[in-house]
Amino acid sequence: MYKVKVYVTLRESVLDPQGKAVQQSLSSLGYQGVEDVRIGKYMELQFDDSVTDVEGTVKEVCEKLLSNPVIEDYRYEIEESAKQ
């Protein structure tokens, strides 16, 4: 069993109006030091033992569906997890 954590974020070159709004909100709350906020997505995938190439499969699904390479980057962490 593997637990995979996938993080999808907007590319640096892409403006993030949501992050900008949150940053301005933090600043109006008095947190002047928060220079920038970028909002992304976090997903947890559970793989069973039938998947032999976990890393290859994760890359594949990230590119095919979980992220849109035109505007987003992804990274992932793979953890071995014990059977429930």
Binding site: L10, S13, L65, L66
Partner: protein, 227 residues
């Protein structure tokens, strides 16, 4: 001419599209469910607006994996007209039939009003009945219509005349005010504004009708032998 309006779970402009083609344009049209795998009997494919699969993950991301999209790609490769409106445009972007992606509107608001568009390219099968530079009034209704692509793609869109419509003024933050683009071949058009909601003066504008009439004219010119 026979059209297919593709219906996904969450489509909500499918009936408007159907009405525009059947009653205002006067052509044949079927509503086709997303699990269809063959669109060979249709001459034109229409992807309507809405919130397919609840916009989960990204707008259009789940819909572009559905069975019917393989048949839509086949129709596009065969040179048939494929029109995606609003969510339909987002699905075409996700499927790679058109370049680029959509971001949330610059002001983060869902925008629902009639806007003025400029016809940038009137030499496509979708726009031939408009004048070049013509200003038309078409409604928009979207939260993610802020068109984005990299500089290289934008240069290519401009060089190949693939920008069909632009907003007359900045509406949602779209790059170069892009409202609608075609593929390189010119037979796939994606646009955020809703021409099917502007097909009768009773609706506030009939400026969208010429888009559908252009498609039919192109089809007649190339398929119907004149006596």
């Amino acid at each position: 001419m026979k059209f297919a309006v593709i219906v996904f779970p969450g489509s909500n402009c499918d009936v408007d599209m159907y009405h525009a083609v059947k009653d205002e344009l006067g052509e044949q049209v079927d509503l086709v469910w997303h699990d269809a795998d063959n669109l060979d009997q249709y001459d034109g494919i229409l992807l309507p607006g809405g919130f397919s699969y609840g916009d989960y993950l990204r707008s259009g991301a789940i819909a572009h994996m559905s069975k019917v999209m393989a048949a839509v790609k086949k129709a596009a490769e065969a040179g048939k007209p494929v029109l995606g409106v609003c969510n339909g445009f987002q699905i075409l972007l996700e499927s790679g039939l058109l370049p680029g992606a959509m971001l949330r509107n610059k002001n983060l608001k869902f925008l629902c009003r009639t806007v003025e568009l400029s016809v940038v390219n009137n030499e496509t099968m979708f726009t031939s009945l408009y004048e070049k530079g013509e200003k038309i009034n078409i409604p928009i209704a979207h939260g993610e219509g802020n068109y984005y692509c990299d500089e290289e793609t934008l240069a290519k869109l401009q060089a190949n005349n693939q920008i069909a419509f632009t907003y007359a003024s900045d509406v949602n933050g779209s790059l170069s005010d892009i409202a609608g683009i075609t593929n390189e071949k010119g037979n796939v058009l994606g646009m955020m504004p809703h021409p099917e909601r502007a097909v009768d003066n009773l609706l506030g504008s009939a400026d969208g009708l010429k888009l559908f009439q252009s498609i039919v004219k192109h089809w007649r010119d190339s398929h119907v032998v004149k006596a």
